[in-house]
């Protein structure tokens, strides 16, 4: 593996095409397969925890906040590591956030007008 490939994990032509050394000056780092597996294990553990707390009646009041927290963490892990957003240009993140933040905001407002949370 060449120096370039080792540092970016990309073959030279692919690297040039993706411009990982241009523009913002970020050097794109790729997690190793081992790191990906580690992330996957964390995801599995969280999923198991989600299912577990579903059945634990003792913490029923905490169930919804915990479930949201777990979902948020899993979401973030997949987006940041598997989708590589942590290591990529900010531009991608900005566009994705427009859609994500927009969707959350707008639909929260819609649900509020129906007083869904006051039921």
């Amino acid at each position: 593996m060449s120096e370039a490939e080792r540092s970016t994990g990309l073959a030279p032509q692919a690297e040039a095409a993706t411009g990982s050394h241009q523009g913002s000056g970020h050097v794109a780092r790729h997690p190793s397969p081992k790191e990906y597996v580690r992330i996957a294990i964390i995801l599995a553990i969280i999923t198991a925890a989600e299912v577990a707390i579903y059945y634990i009646e003792a913490i029923e009041g905490l169930l919804i906040p915990l479930l949201f927290l777990f979902a948020l963490v899993k979401f973030a892990l997949v987006v940041l590591w598997f989708m590589h957003l942590k290591f990529d240009s900010r531009t991608y993140a900005r566009f994705f956030m427009m859609g994500l933040a927009g969707a959350i905001t707008l639909f929260l407002i819609v649900l509020l007008t129906f007083r869904v949370f006051a039921r």
Binding site: Y36, Y54, S89
Partner: protein
């Protein structure tokens, strides 16, 4: 920065970012709105069904959690496929791509089985408000997965005919982004629809 009007893969761009990756992220951003609308329809109608069966009557959380594990695993295999291809290991990338497709098919198969079970328990598309919003939401998600599987199988087809080398890593990355998106939508669906309890109407 010069621009030569040659093959599009090697065109230098204003941002230095490849067109296709920018396009995919923009598309995924717009897809957030799509699922946002479907999920909020479901949340709005939570507990509003006039007749049953209700979620508690039909949901099988352990079963569906297996589906969740399957889809999460498929995200792992997807990213491993990409990493392998970027390393130049075409053979490995094929294995991981195949694994992703198979896991995806398992997920869809699991959904189909789940829906069939629900139908036997008298919950069909038009039974009530719960069925209406549930089936359309998960149906949209399932369709997204199915399209993803089609893309994966197409990549495999290219790979087996020797046309998916490391220089095509970007294409695999695009399919990967789509695939992971489908996974994160499921993370939300699993929590909001399955895990957060919906009390049955009195």
């Amino acid at each position: 920065m010069e621009i030569h009007a040659q093959e599009s893969e090697h065109l230098a761009t204003s941002t230095g970012l490849p067109n296709i990756k920018l396009a995919m992220w923009l598309f995924l951003a717009s897809d957030c709105m799509l699922f946002g609308a479907l999920i909020s329809t479901y949340v709005l109608y939570r507990g509003a069904s006039v007749v049953g069966p209700y979620p508690n009557d039909v949901f099988d959380i352990p079963y569906t959690s297996v589906s969740s594990f399957v889809l999460l695993a498929s995200s792992l295999t997807m990213v491993l496929a990409l990493a392998a291809l970027q390393r130049g290991d075409v053979g490995r990338s094929r294995v991981w791509l195949l694994a992703t497709a198979l896991l995806g098919m398992t997920f869809v198969g699991g959904q189909v089985y789940e829906f069939t079970t629900f139908a036997h328990e008298e919950l069909t598309l038009t039974t009530n408000l719960f069925s209406t919003s549930f089936y359309v939401l998960t149906g949209f998600h399932g369709t997204h997965v199915a399209i993803g599987i089609l893309m994966l199988l197409t990549l495999l087809m290219f790979s087996f005919s020797g046309r998916l080398g490391p220089e095509k890593a970007e294409t695999v990355e695009m399919v990967g982004l789509y695939w992971h998106f489908v996974d994160i939508v499921w993370i939300v669906i699993f929590t909001v629809i399955y895990l957060i309890p919906t009390g049955n109407p009195a």
